[in-house]
């Protein structure tokens, strides 16, 4: 067979095999995920920073004592590090809530102004500053579909 024929042949073989009942097994398990956007639940999980002590280690030759030393240093400094973690997490969480509130208010205003249908919340302007920043940093925007309905007050119709 020529290399140029191989892919078409493989596709045909796979199709025929499936018709025979092959290739039907469950292949679940660990899978790399690159979601289009991050849910609020995911952002909340990330906001509460929890460094893993197991990842503090040395990869050098004779690294075991260095690993022990590093972990010992983390242990000795745990009160100081806990302050950093808690203060950073506090800021992260409050910032997330503030962003969620702004998304809520923006969605309501857009709906009120007739720019969005009910239920069409949190669509990010693809040319807006947030979208540009997300593209530059390769960060998927959070989106706003998960905003709870209870935050939305009844608004009078737009003028």
């Amino acid at each position: 067979m020529k290399p140029e024929q191989a892919l078409a042949h493989a596709r045909e073989q796979a199709r025929a095999a499936r018709e025979r009942g092959e290739y039907s097994e469950d292949l679940s398990g660990f899978q790399v995920q690159v979601p289009d956007r991050r849910s609020h639940e995911q952002l909340v999980e990330w906001a509460l920073i929890e460094p893993d002590l197991d990842l503090v280690r040395s990869t050098r030759a004779w690294g075991a004592p260095i690993t022990a030393l590093k972990r010992g240093a983390v242990h000795v400094l745990r009160q100081y590090l806990a302050q950093i973690e808690s203060q950073q997490s506090r800021f992260n969480v409050h910032m997330l809530v503030r962003v969620a509130e702004l998304e809520d208010r923006m969605a309501d205003l857009e709906q009120w102004a007739g720019r969005r249908e009910p239920g069409e919340y949190g669509r990010v302007d693809p040319d807006g500053a947030a979208a540009r920043l997300a593209r530059d940093l390769d960060v998927q925007p959070a989106g706003g579909d998960e905003l709870p309905e209870r935050h939305r007050p009844d608004l009078p119709p737009a003028p």
Binding site: M1, K2, P3, E4, A6, L7, H9, A10, R11, Q13, A14, A17, R18, E22, Y23, E25, L27, G29, F30, Q31, V32, Q33, V34, W46, D52, D54, L55, D136, L137, D138, V139, Q140
Partner: protein, 355 residues
Amino acid sequence: MNVHQILSGAGPVDAVTSQARTMRRLMRDWGWGGVDVASSIDPRMGRAVRPLRALNPARSDVLLVHYSAYAPKLERFLELPNPKLLISHNVTPARWFWDVDPHLAIHCSLGRQRLPRFVQAVDLAAGVSAFNAAELRQAGARETTVIPIHFDPARLGACGPDRDPDPDHPPVILFVGRLTPHKRQDELIRAFALFRRHRSPQARLELVGEPVNEDYGAALAALAEELAPGAVRFGRGLSDEALADRYRSAHVLCCLSEHEGFCIPLLEAFHFGVPVVARPAGGVPEVAGDAALLVPDRDPAVVAELLELAAGDAELRADLRTRGRARVAAYDPGATARALRAAVERVAAARNGCA
């Protein structure tokens, strides 16, 4: 002429560092001087690479910046009036790392974000592939060129005689490269599991490379054990000789990576006459040419069928071997050396008025 190489980091097993050291040897052969400096230096490097503060270039000296990561301390060199050449070694998009390694994700994110600042400040921006050079143009580079990775197959030793695998010997599928999310070893394990269950029950998979971190490596190992118990072997920290042995015993190299600036393992496989099955991502089609079976399909069954063909069809294997040798010849180290020399002389001439 003096050419100073500037790196973000230097280490004994770092691919960018080894490219820079090869280039230094070439430049020394050409009678050029200069020092190699880096922002962070592994102590095992000795005095081969000096700290950034050791660089005090004369005005006509060429600065060669190797760009491979976020490197804020390198930005001050952009302000110097010297002729400047940038070689981009490609920064992986951050989206692949946010879940697995946030620290690396931040560095990739900022590395790609700051790339325009670098490419717009240099006289010439070079990519290791045309794909990479296109990214540099998108980032605002005025002029670009291609300086491929300097690939010297002699490093791995002789390729050995052309041979078809022993029919009594179970097929070995090989992957070489870092174990990272964008290289999709998870998909490879799934395709291999199907290949093993439906086509070749004795087949083995060899994954050779350092995991991005221990958790990621453990997740891949658990998946392999679940889908193909006892059939997947992980290898890391291999010497050149041990790596060459893996190539010599492999029936197929399979790479389902989603992002590659160049992909050296393709050329290594071609050198050893190992057929390649690969996803046509980034620089892969350019490096592979017509010598690999490129599979854009997400269906692991299609990949499994291609593995079956690449491992067992003698005519196909012979054809791929011949084509692979031609690809190795196309990336002859002499051609890369000439491209490097031409690029350096070009920026020197443009700024200094002489070559």
